[in-house]
């Protein structure tokens, strides 16, 4: 999968144009997918702690 180019700065920031705004919405929507690996990472830390408890039986 190729990485999408960074959103270019619009020439008129008050009226950036439909294409820019639509692209911004799309980028924000795509950014939400990072929530999935972030959640898994947090759960993995919890799982690691439980494994540690079970392995070492402290």
């Amino acid at each position: 999968m190729t990485r999408r180019a960074e959103l270019p700065e619009p020439k008129d920031r008050r009226n950036p144009g439909e294409a820019f705004l639509a692209r911004e919405i799309d980028d924000n929507r795509r950014a939400e997918f990072w929530l999935i690996p972030k959640t898994f990472l947090s759960l993995a830390i919890v799982a690691a702690l439980i494994v540690l408890r079970e392995v070492f039986k402290l």
């Binding site: 920031r13 008050r14 009226n15 950036p16 439909e18 705004l21 639509a22 911004e24 919405i25 799309d26 924000n28 929507r29 950014a31 939400e32 997918f33 990072w34 929530l35 999935i36 972030k38 959640t39 990472l41 947090s42 759960l43 830390i45 919890v46 702690l49 439980i50 408890r53 070492f56 039986k57 402290l58």
Partner: protein
Amino acid sequence: MNWFLLGTRVLEIVLLAFVATGAIPVVVGAYSFLLIPLHAIRNHYSRAAPYFPRVAIVVPAWNEGAVIATSIDRLMALDYPLDRLRIYVVDDASTDDTPRVVTAKAKQYPGSVFHLRRNKGGEGKAHTLNHGIRVVLEDDWMQALLIMDADVIYLPNSLRRMTRHFADPRVGAVSAYVREGSADKNYLTRYIGLEYVLSQPASRRAHNVLGAQACLAGGAQLHTRENLLAIGGRIDTSSLAEDTITTFETQLRGHRVVFEPHAVVLAEEPGSIDALWKQRLRWARGNVTVTARYRKVWFRPSRTHRLGSISFGLIWFSLYLLPIAMILSSIGLIGLLLMHSNLATVVFRALWILAACTYIFMLGLGAQLDWGISRHAWREVLTFPGVISMFIMLTAFFPGLVERQIPAMFDVKFTQEGLFAFTEFIYTWIPLSMLGAVLARRVEKTRIGRFLAPAMIYLVGYGSLLCAITLDSYLKELQRAEAKWDKTEKTGRVVI
């Protein structure tokens, strides 16, 4: 039948039920955070589209001379068409130089900035807002209304990121992410920053997934004109929770409320326990009103709105009744311990291991949602539940380590009585931690408070401080104490 044995068994079951109440908010907290990744799929972006309605911004201002000029300049610099933006500063009979500053700004931005003066002030934010709302509703120029606080700073792209959701006519209101933005952060503002990450980009995403929002941020709520008219064209003035009531009324009329995590607004938050206590007591007492007012909404699913869903009800009441649940669980544990029940240790470990896992999961996920805040607040991320609570979690997770191995390193050993006293202490810790938070507030006002109060909050935990404030709100409501509007003092410490 042995009545003593039966009585003991019944008491044991009751005490177990008490302990279980402490697990409910923990499980519900974990559940709500497990909804967050679903926001990747269940969000409102597919219905959002470029859209620039004519926005009237109403800024309530009472003695905001220190911050209002910067706020107006920032608003005028928003990435938004200038002919579609008007700012109405409602000066609530200020006694400082607010009128002079706003009048000067109105001259600087003719046709864009308006100074509205109330001669009778001090009635609260909702009255002040209503003065401005009445004016903007007099003609049909306004298509959307932004309600904000005088001290908050909108990032340039924030407003257009909010308005895009109004391309969907079902949406009645949009809220932004209010981020702690003080330049001179202290331990408390860092805790607040972290709490805001957990309660907004984290929890409110979960609320988006559920289709029900608990509260529009007071400093960043955007309404469509239709929604504003539908809720009566005014903000509720009968309670201290006008933001929550507006949010509920919007949804009860079938309009959606959307939280936009990519629209960021910076706000100055209290830097002292006392100021935070006053602010949160106002919020907590407002929530008591909301809970009672919408008693016919809870746990009653409806086709019009999602406020009555079981999930949303559980999330609301888990937070609302958190201090009671925590105290009951401590009573249950102590009761079982005094009965010399074998269950005491088992349920203690189960409860605190569950709490530890949930804490690590929530903080781990929350910290990743705003690295800017987490980087500065790493100490607060690590100590959010309090250093002593973390030690108790360690005891639950690795009992041998705390009860045998660490003492052995110092050539000491727990006696039977010593172990019992230690166990009593950790079982009663949650109510004690709330007491510790109350003491920290008292200590803060003394000469050594500058050093001692932060140390106490790190020890007892920021969560216990919030629980103590909620508990205070119950007491104030029971005493029918006067519910007055205490404005949080702002000094213009916010920077981008």
